[in-house]
Symmetry: C2
Subunit: 166 residues, 2 copies
């Protein structure tokens, strides 16, 4: 099927593996077919992990366009102004530090990832400073005072209670 612009109306994502997050261990397990694509990934310190939030992949949740922010009661924002996994296309992008890679077994060990155990893995990309590290990026007002860098997030959340609604 295609639309007026001659573009397809839908596209097909095929999982390339699975995210494991259990007992303090975090790793990506890449299916055999895709393991050659890991070659030299270990040259990079951090990766961008793209996953399909299958637990919120329902017609109802894909149709929700706005929600009250659990961390900012009284503020109703569009879903595109949030990082909620429940969204029209339930794709999530999470950055993570790489601890080690076994290209043959298809294992990418990570310091941490906030996905549920068993989540379908869609893509792995290197984190590229000239594309991804933005000096001038500013928070929305409801996140004022939140950490300025990824490395400072763990300590912040250890000492602040923030309700992300999950």
């Amino acid at each position: 099927m295609s639309n007026q612009n001659g573009k397809s109306e839908t596209y097909t994502v095929r999982p390339i593996g699975t995210i494991h997050a259990d007992k303090g261990e975090f790793y990506l397990e890449v299916d055999e077919t895709y393991r050659p694509a890991l070659k030299l990934l270990g040259e990079w310190s951090h990766v961008m992990v793209v996953w399909w939030a299958d637990q919120v992949d329902t017609e109802e949740l894909r149709g929700i366009m706005q929600a009250e922010l659990p961390y900012a009661p009284g503020t109703v924002a569009g879903i595109f102004a949030t990082r909620s996994p429940a969204r029209p296309n339930p794709l999530t992008v999470t950055n993570a530090a790489v601890l080690g890679i076994d290209e043959e077994k298809g294992i990418v060990r990570l310091a941490y990832i906030d996905a549920e155990d068993g989540t379908p893995l869609v893509d792995i990309k290197p984190y590229v400073p000239m594309s991804d590290r933005i000096r001038d990026a500013k928070y929305a007002s409801w996140f004022e005072g939140f950490p300025e860098y990824y490395e400072d997030a763990a300590e912040f959340f250890a000492t602040h209670e923030v309700d992300f609604g999950d």
Copy 2:
């Protein structure tokens, strides 16, 4: 269809709009259904744009697992170690500075985006410093000396020739 783990074998991406990149103007045009999801997106300075690289969405290109890097002749890397749009799932993630938003018309004006005009738009997320700005991220060896921040990329590419093969 589902696999041994009881997970679906494929997932369906539905474009939420179109990327316009023509004559030095860059903007996202969000389809009417999804426009309410833009509410308050303008609170954020930068967005992460997720798009479907439909021009390289062929079975042949989705099946390529390794390639010689045009910017590092002689180095063959796995596709997951690159940001090439041609990959098993041709999803691309690009960060961009927001210039302005018209929620009613579904327009998000950007300073720049490296997508082809007419590219299907899959998602818009805020760029969140505590998740996305990584102080300690390092380049792979083949990119040594490349800019450390997004803001420095334009000047770098104005004064250096780099072959990205496109």
